[in-house]
Amino acid sequence: MYNFEFAKPKTVEEAASAMAAEGAQALGGGQTLLPTMKQRLASPEVLVSLTGIDGMVGVSASGGSVTIGGATTHAQVAADVAESYPALAALAANIGDPAVRNRGTVGGSLANNDPAACYPAGALGSGATITTNKRDIAADDYFQGMFETALDEGEIITSVSFPIPQKANYQKFDQPASRFALVGVFVAKTPDGVRVAVTGASNEGVYRWTAAETALNSDFSQAALEGMSGDADDMISDLHGSGAYRAHLVGVLTRRAVAACG
């Protein structure tokens, strides 16, 4: 790790001005950023910790959606939305291990947009809105490929609003070593239609599987997906699985998610 300055602002405004400094970078739970710094693969000059900002921690529910502060940990989400949005709570409860869940934050996960992370599927599948210190961004516009998002330099995710679907389920198939998603599929049945978001699989990062959505919109059942799988050509192929295997898993997990929706 290289030396760096450390700032722990109390408000979003203070954080935003701290982020204006040369080489400044936001710090959520540090579960991605700190290991990278320890390996000397990242060298921010100023770390701006967001977890001390009261307004960015916590969960509130109103009008059919839950809003989660950007610096809220996975463990808190798992506990606080267990009743209001059980599928999202289950997703959060199955990220990493207790140490990761007690530190890692929803804002950090979405800002990082790891192609194998769970929250991107939850946010895109739910049709969430990502709120920053500058604007609201619809999930459909937010994810722009592996590790790429609509965030500008220095922009801070202050909260994320998840509309609560009628039914939802997240199926994650673990990569054996990291236990991130080798493939993860989030299925949500909403009044505006079914949304199917796939993580872990595509070279383009998290995406909506529109063919499955169409099929499920006319018949929300496993049978509607019979014989369907992802497109192997677009899929990640690595030591944990070929593109063909991932494409196959996309189909299997989507069916299982639909079945689990009941």
Partner: protein, 789 residues
């Protein structure tokens, strides 16, 4: 005997109190005054010519006190291979020099070519980045078949080949085995890979060098499984420091599994730097460095053939193996694929013909050496997989096929066709026990239950034998070992009656501090807690060969036993003198010396005191003091054996394998502490299941380690494992060591991989999929690919 805590008692491990309460003292916990810190510059290319290394900028960096390159060690020796193997044509193996720091060429990613010593670790790391190394990347060779075929790309130019040796065992049996296979009514052939493993001990390697200019003494504190061997190698081969001027101390060590048997260049470097700087020098490996530079394990590519009669009687095993030794010969790398592998290729069976050919191959990858089981897991995997395939081809139940060919209890000592003499065992008794404890009869019902849930259930059976208690010096000497493999112990009874036992074995998780006192306490009739084991420091202990190969209790424990016998003998003389009678009239039981037929007695404690306060002593016949040393060199290996069963459920949609049960029936001979033995088996099973399902060190064709971190290298976790059934009640004593023990440290890692793979293949076969074999790790992706052709 000692009421509590003697032989056979499941005494809790006394050392766990300090380990579990954070009071262990590991190498990195030790920071002498004025310590400097070392960081290495390591190659990022797998094969490269070093044109120049400019360290001038690094040397000017803040806090830097010294920079070393391979040039600085050009005149010192190399780290040698401990075992000479001759090829079939009689040529000795190729032994290219393994320098302290790469010189002229780098040969694998992670090969260290320079080192910086600085006031702080960060300064040392900063300076490493300032080293300007001009290295031409050359084509790399990582695949063994390519390495043998393609001599344009050489790991070591000076030897003109990538083949280290081409070994035949037993060469005289080759023709007969070929003939037997040619004429056999049935031959089953299997090609398989024994996957490369990265050891991943919880504690990474760490070394601290110190030098005392007043006395000229060196001290190396290091993460080692055998400090005396490390001292010997540094003294005799690498640096020429006189042995009596070098202390090697391995304090608490957080796991080794083989990877800390060997001497590594970093140890020599911190010693050389400490001398030059006149300050302590410390290096602690990062996890990344561990992945790139610790000796890896396994990595064989094998073709095995089993010839048999139509009724399943075995006629011959013939094996052809390529064994990856990586870029340099690590200390035992040449013994592992040969004498720890080829000699076991008769398994538990009365097979008349065995022939094994092993080609050891240099590649641009990290060195490969012994890893828990070392050669025996490879042997067992090949044998037990091909036997399972033969059973299927012949339509014979896999248990029945094994039983048909087992060596029977009345055949011991049994001379195996692979050149070993097994002293004892009872494989049918183990299989009987297994049938009961694994409820093999109930399998069909469980399978039907799994099928209802859409899961394919399979049953895997395995029998193994291993050669442990490594080993008899006479035998290993003939086989090419350059060291003896005895062990040593000194039992020192202190004046006040408590006892220090100095041992050559090293405990890094094995529980010696608890088990060894149980042996002594039993013999002396004293409280085990009055006995302390001293190990790991060459300035305190007699010359021993350390811990690996399940040898500690069988070899070093036997030395403890012999030394304690000597203590009893001498104490009897002192007791006789105290009671004014002849030694032959004195009996020793339960810690008391008594004159036969009288009520005269003295306690062990009184005798101990007398030994150190020898007033009125017959000095012409008894020396003062009560301290004895024994060196023990066994007559043979020990031969633990076992029968294992595993049930798995395969999800045919995803290929995911869940292990439902794992039953291990082992014969370890006498058991000193059943709880520790069970723990050792459990750990071995976890590692074996790790190999079978999860772990894989994979290099790409450019020599980059793709699974170079825990994000890609899958270690087994608790929820990957079932509740184990571990049973070591079906024991046959080892006939040649005084405690009757065989060794249990590696069994689980040897017996479990073929059991798991047999179970997966069985599940797929029963599920109607024509799958004969899946290479380890049997990952979901591989199972799915096998199912889907």
């Amino acid at each position: 005997m000692a009421a509590d805590g003697g032989m056979g008692h499941a005494t809790k491990r006394r050392e766990d109190v300090r380990f579990l309460t954070g009071r262990g003292r590991y190498t990195d916990d030790y920071t002498p005054a004025k310590t400097t810190y070392c960081a290495f510059a390591r190659s990022t290319v797998a094969n490269g010519k070093i044109n120049s290394i400019d360290t001038s900028a690094a040397a000017e960096m803040p806090g830097v006190v010294a920079v070393f390159t391979g040039e600085d060690f050009a005149d010192v020796g190399g780290n040698p291979a401990g075992w000479l193997i001759n090829s079939r044509d009689g040529e000795p193996m190729k032994e290219p020099k393994r320098p302290v720091l790469a010189h002229g060429k780098v040969r694998h990613v992670g090969d260290a070519y320079a080192a910086v010593i600085a006031e702080t670790l960060e300064q040392a790391m900063d300076a490493v980045e300032a080293i300007d190394a001009d290295i031409d990347e050359l084509d790399a060779v990582t695949n063994m078949a390519d390495a043998l075929a393609n001599t344009d790309t050489l790991v070591h130019d000076e030897i003109g080949t990538n083949q280290c040796f081409d070994w035949g065992w037993i060469e005289d049996n080759r023709a007969a085995t070929d003939e037997a296979i040619k004429n056999a009514p049935h031959v089953t052939t299997l090609e398989l890979v024994n996957n490369r493993l990265v050891p991943n001990a919880m504690e990474p390697r760490c070394s601290i060098g110190e030098y005392d200019p007043g006395t000229g003494d060196y001290r190396l504190t290091t993460t080692s499984q055998n400090p005396h061997l490390t001292r010997l190698l540094i003294s005799a081969f690498v640096m020429g420091i006189p042995e009596n001027k070098l202390t090697v101390h391995a304090p608490d060590v957080g796991g080794g599994f083989g990877s800390k048997i060997y001497h590594y260049g970093e140890e020599a470097l911190v010693l050389a730097a400490a001398k030059k700087l006149n300050r302590p020098v410390k290096w602690t490996s990062t996890r990344t460095e561990a992945f790139l530079s610790d000796a890896h394990g396994r990595d064989h590519v094998t073709k095995i053939e089993l010839a048999c009669e139509k009724d399943g009687t075995f006629i011959a095993f013939r094996t052809e193996t390529m064994a990856n030794v990586g870029a340099y010969l690590s200390n035992f790398s040449t013994a592992t694929p040969t004498f720890l592998h080829g000699t076991l290729m008769a398994g538990n069976y009365t097979v008349p013909n065995v022939y094994v050919n092993v080609k050891a191959v240099f590649t641009n990858t990290a060195p490969v050496d012994a890893y828990r089981g070392a050669g025996r897991p490879e042997a067992t995997f090949s044998l037990e997989r091909v036997i399972d395939k033969a059973a299927r081809e012949l339509g014979i139940d896999p248990v029945a096929l094994r039983r048909k060919n087992f060596i029977k209890p009345d055949q011991y000592p049994y001379a195996s066709a692979a050149g070993l003499e097994y002293d004892s065992g009872n494989y049918d008794a183990l299989m009987d026990g297994l049938e009961k404890r694994a409820d093999l009869a109930g399998f069909e019902a469980r399978r039907a239950e799994s099928a209802k849930n859409g899961k394919l259930r399979g049953l895997g059976i395995n029998a193994y034998i291993e050669a442990c208690g490594i080993a008899p010096s006479n035998l290993v000497g003939v086989l090419g070992s350059r060291v003896g493999l005895y062990d040593a112990a000194t039992v020192r009874v202190n004046a006040t009656g408590n006892i220090s036992v100095m041992v050559g074995a090293h405990s890094h998780g094995q529980g010696h501090e608890t088990a060894f006192p149980q042996v002594v306490a039993d013999m002396l009739g004293v409280d085990p807690m009055s006995i302390e084991i001293v190990h790991g420091d060459t300035s305190k202990i007699p010359f021993g060969m350390g811990t690996y190969g399940s040898r500690s209790l069988a070899v070093c424990g036997s030395a403890v036993f012999r030394a304690t016998e000597k203590i009893i003998k001498k104490a009897t003389l002192i007791a006789a003198h105290m009671m004014e009678d002849k030694p032959e009239n004195v009996d020793f039981t339960d810690g008391e010396f008594a004159v036969k037929g009288t009520n005269k007695k003295v306690s062990f404690g009184e005798v101990a005191l007398k030994a150190y306060i020898p007033h009125n002593f017959p000095l012409e016949s008894i020396e003062p003091g009560l301290e004895e040393t024994a060196f023990y060199d066994p007559a043979n290996f020990t031969y633990p054996s076992g029968a294992y069963a595993c049930e798995v459920e395969v999800d045919p949609e995803t290929g995911k394998v869940d292990i439902c049960s794992m039953v291990a029936m082992d014969d370890f001979g006498n058991v000193v502490n059943p709880m520790i033995v069970t723990g050792q088996v459990q750990g071995g099973l976890a590692q074996g299941i790790g190999q079978a399902l999860l772990e894989h060190g994979i290099y790409d064709e450019n020599g980059q380690l793709l699974s170079g971190s825990l994000m890609d290298y899958a270690m087994p976790r608790a929820d990957d494992l079932p509740n184990f059934v571990v049973d070591h009640s079906h024991a046959t004593r080892c006939t040649h060591n005084p405690i009757g023990v065989k060794g249990c440290g590696e069994a689980g890692a040897i017996g479990s991989p073929p059991t798991v793979v047999n179970a997966v293949v069985d599940a797929l076969q029963r599920g109607g999929h024509d799958v004969d074999h899946i290479d380890m790790p049997v990952s979901p992706a591989r199972v799915w690919a096998a199912i889907n052709g």
